[in-house]
């Protein structure tokens, strides 16, 4: 099993330089907006979510994780025509959850990253659907095959992407 339990002292905590902390989420949001207009299949990926998970897990600070998730989510919301806060709430929960999990577990290896992304993608969608339907009154269609397919696709993309983003990590 790739996920191993570690105590708080054993876990490595990372930090990121300010340009990286700002530019990486911005690039992710830009690509998320730009690519689906050219490559329609790309809309099943959620790059801002993957970046949220990566930063949350690497920093291992729940407060930093939830604030990063909220900021990225709200920026993503601002590009849509839906009310602000749908992605914001979903990514806040994911940021908090991923960083809390990062404190408890070693999620540095590819297998662990795949499973963590798979799990948090589903959590993200469940929270989004709940808020959108419960608070905003939107009618959304939940399809397990579609959601699971998207979750696997995002998890598969997360492994090489996290490996790429590892280069920007600095030990705290």
């Amino acid at each position: 099993m790739p996920i191993s339990y570690t105590s708080g002292e054993q876990v490595e905590v990372y930090r990121f330089s300010l340009p990286v902390a700002i530019l990486v989420p911005l690039v992710a949001i830009f690509l998320q907006a730009f690519l689906p207009a050219r490559l329609h299949f790309f809309s099943i990926f959620d790059l801002p979510l993957l970046v949220t998970i990566f930063f949350a897990v690497a920093r291992r600070s729940p407060v930093a994780g939830l604030l990063t998730g909220a900021a990225i989510g709200l920026a993503q919301d601002a590009l849509t025509h839906r009310p602000l806060g749908l992605y914001g709430i979903a990514k806040t929960v994911v940021g908090y959850g991923a960083s809390s999990l990062g404190v408890k577990l070693d999620v540095e290896n590819p297998g662990a990253r795949f499973l963590v992304t798979l799990f948090f993608y589903v959590v993200h969608e469940v929270v989004y659907f709940t808020v959108a339907q419960g608070l905003v009154g939107q009618k959304l269609a939940w399809s397990w095959p579609h959601e699971l397919g998207s979750a696997f696709a995002n998890a598969a993309l997360a492994v090489p992407l996290f490996f790429l983003l590892d280069r920007f990590k600095q030990r705290a």
Partner: protein, 397 residues
């Protein structure tokens, strides 16, 4: 209390952030859904993303143009030959259709129909999307400086695309696509003239709603805009029926394949100006050789109408004949509407019984009735009469 907050600091912050966002959502939901309340945040986000999108799109377009116009010219000769052949065929088709169109226009003028014209369009390039499966919309590179305003219709050569949801700045606007579930387009089936509402589904498909279950709709039938939404002009192609099934309620479940490929949008047209005008009969009709002769020959009597019209038209027609002519005109108008695809208001004999359909049917019938009731109403010249001939008058009994 303080120690409790310190102990549960992370959870407390999480709750505070979530509460703030839920509160923000509640405020937005209470207000108008057009995003006016948080316009500044959206403008910032759009301003951060779209300049790069525009730059890449222009670069891509320039490179593509260079490649296709100057480098990759393979097959151009063959394509040229094919296009020439196609032009010949289209010319022949045009000759046939122009006669039908003239006839339809004359009948519309006779019935006092008002037509909507697309007076002005602005071409725009799609620069990006919202990046969300839950928000089916695209950004275009035209904004307030180009005369773009909210709610303007957006089309392609193939058909309807959507409408302007928000103009963000001088050169950026958001277009809500017709397959988004919050969009709605007044639509009419081309053959059966049934009216409905075109809507997007959560999965991104397009369906035609509000068509009663006892109506007959066949796959393959074309769907056009009805103009009932006051946004899209009447008669634009919206899609084709792909499947029909009985829905859980009293309505049919009709799936539509959009006429425009919404997943591959590159260039679109924004209709910035529409005009409502009564149909005019064109006076620049081809004049027959016989008519020219009739004008020049000295033996032709002064009342040219008497010459050009048949013997039965010399006197005011009796009541049954006039009623028959009126009925024929109405039938011809309905037929012409079918041929002209949405040029006439919906609600023909096969209407679905909706209020709008009935209203337009009544107005159509009233228009015909008015013509037969008024002493002198029609001043339409006969089709082949000389330009200076006396207008034919429809007199009552």
């Amino acid at each position: 209390m303080e120690s409790l907050l310190t102990r549960y600091r992370n959870v407390s912050i999480l709750m505070a952030v979530l509460f703030a966002q839920v509160l923000g959502l509640a405020i937005q939901v209470r207000r108008a859904p057009t995003g006016e309340s948080n316009r500044l945040i959206r403008v910032w986000a759009v301003a951060a993303v779209t300049p790069l999108e525009k730059a890449i799109t222009r670069m891509q377009s320039a490179t593509g143009s260079l490649w296709s116009n100057y480098i990759y010219l393979r097959g151009v000769r063959q394509q040229n030959r094919d296009l020439k052949y196609q032009i010949e065929n289209l010319r022949l088709q045009q000759v046939r259709l122009s006669e039908d169109a003239n006839q339809a226009r004359r009948l519309q003028a006779l019935l006092n129909f008002k037509e909507q014209y697309v007076a002005k369009t602005v071409a725009a390039q799609v620069i990006g999307s919202t990046g969300s499966e839950h928000s089916r919309a695209v950004y275009i590179d035209k904004g307030s400086d180009d005369g773009i305003k909210n709610e303007m219709p957006v089309i392609t050569a193939d058909g309807v695309v959507g409408k302007i949801w928000q103009v963000y700045d001088a050169h950026t606007s958001l277009v809500l696509l017709i397959n988004d579930q919050s969009s709605g387009v007044g639509a009419i089936l081309a053959n059966s003239r049934l009216q409905g509402i075109l809507r997007g589904t959560p999965s991104g498909e397009v369906v035609l709603e509000k068509v009663l279950g006892d109506e007959q709709v066949l796959p393959g039938e074309t769907v056009l805009t009805s103009g009932g939404d006051q946004i899209f002009p009447k008669g634009l192609p919206a899609g084709v029926v792909t499947s029909v099934s009985r829905g859980p309620d009293a309505f049919l479940n009709i799936r539509i394949r959009p006429a425009a490929d919404l997943s591959k949008l590159e260039e679109v047209l924004v209709i910035t100006k529409k005009e409502h005008a009564a149909t005019e009969v064109t006076t620049a009709q081809p004049t027959r050789a016989a008519d020219i002769l009739a004008q020049r020959l000295p033996s032709v009597p002064d009342n040219a109408a008497e010459v050009t019209e048949g013997p039965g038209d010399e006197k005011p027609a009796p009541a049954p004949g006039e009623a028959n002519a009126t009925a024929k005109a109405q039938a011809a108008a309905t037929q012409a509407a079918g041929a002209k695809a949405g040029a006439l208001p919906a609600g023909g004999p096969a209407g679905n019984g909706s209020a709008a359909a009935k209203a337009s049917q009544n107005s159509s019938a009233n228009a015909v009735k008015r013509i037969s009731d008024k002493p002198v109403t029609s001043t339409v010249k006969p089709e082949h009469s000389p330009p200076d001939s006396t207008p034919v008058e429809a007199k009552p009994q």
